[in-house]
Symmetry: C2
Subunit: 202 residues, 2 copies
DNA sequence: TGTACATCAGTGAACGCGCGTTCACTGATGTAC
DNA sequence: TGTACATCAGTGAACGCGCGTTCACTGATGTAC
């Protein structure tokens, strides 16, 4: 498991990374590890080990572990936001685009369990390192824009706000229940729940 | 923080617990610690410390830490189930009883953040220690009973199933978003989202 | 009533572990003269 | 073109920490005769 003598390292004999590539490599490795939903105990030392570098080397690029995790959360939020926008556009916007973002929300969570949890827990720590919370919020502001476009013009701001929150809660809850294994992580079930929901059409 | 010389211990000079009370005391202490949402890193040693007993004493009552956590999850599931039933009955059953269980669901999570997470993560480990997953499931089977009673008779089994899942997801998502600090943990907001939902009345 | 013995809930020292972080260091790269 | 020097990304040993778990033990309680 911890053998670093695989083909990747054979191609690049000893130090695989130069000139600031380490940051990117560590983040890439971190995102990979965060795909495993088993545990969120991604340790700085393990990341360094997997990348083929001493643990202390990471301190050249991140002041501490917390900063590393924030960077990972930020990278996750970027991926997430991009996928949300792609899903919306690909479905042609509107109500079906909105539903598509819901499906993409759940599928992203299932594909990146630990990363998803990390991203979601970042608002808590926002005070300690501003910026990453904002990134997630920006990804989520898409939700509010979409809900605004979908609701009938007669809807009040409060109605829109509650509607957006309902949609978010439904999709977030479905994602978490599936992540936690309380509900089978079944693709067709995602479609069923989201398509059957009358949330967009209050 | 770790002084054990407070009044509680003055009243009961050295060994506070006898004859199997330790198990109950540890669980009570554990449930208290799990109310703090800060971290789920409740350690066996810390629990023993807070109860005023050596860490190894716990091994008289639990084979290992995992068993301890399972016991805590089980106790949590019992509390949760009782509160759900109380909420349903107190609101007079039916649709308004159903909505009441939804509100109680979110409020339980907010009142016991780490416990709620522990309970929800137990299905994963069900294989390693059967029984606790079942307890949670029994608490949740209430949900299915209620949804069955609420849906119109014309509804198919699939409709009922999807409806139950929607309701569960909505309420679970709202709870998690509030726990994670993504949405203000506002009592009136809980009411708004749940009462405005048309889930029960598909 | 008194003695011998088993039971069993608790103690405290010790273990090995992986962690985040610090420290003084090395050695390659680029720049100034 | 060559020498002197600063920069800076990396190394590896070492730190203190709290953890879960083991071990041999102690001392009170209850039971048998």
């Amino acid at each position: 498991m911890k053998s670093n003598d695989n083909s990747v390292n054979i191609k690049l004999p000893k130090n695989t990374y130069h000139h600031g590539d380490l940051r990117a490599a560590v983040i890439a490795e971190g995102l990979m590890r965060l795909k495993s939903g088993v545990l969120d105990d991604v340790s700085l030392r393990e990341l360094a080990r997997n990348v083929g570098v001493s643990a202390t080397a990471l301190y050249r690029h991140f002041p501490d572990k917390n900063a590393l995790m924030s960077a990972l959360a930020g990278a996750g939020a970027d991926m997430f936001g991009a996928e949300q926008r792609r899903a919306f556009a690909q479905a042609g916007g509107g109500q079906s685009g909105f539903n598509a973002t819901g499906r993409a929300y759940v599928r992203f969570a299932l594909a990146n369990p630990a990363l998803f949890r990390l991203m979601m827990s970042c608002k808590d720590r926002q005070a300690t390192s501003p910026g990453k919370g904002a990134q997630i919020n920006s990804a989520l502001s898409l939700l509010h824009e979409n809900i605004a476009a979908i609701f009938p013009q007669s809807a009040s701001d409060d109605q829109r706000r509650v509607g957006a929150l309902q949609a978010w809660a439904l999709v977030h809850g479905l994602a978490m229940l599936m992540l936690e294994g309380q509900v089978p992580a079944d693709d067709s079930l995602i479609d069923l729940v989201i398509d059957a929901s009358k949330l967009g059409a209050l």
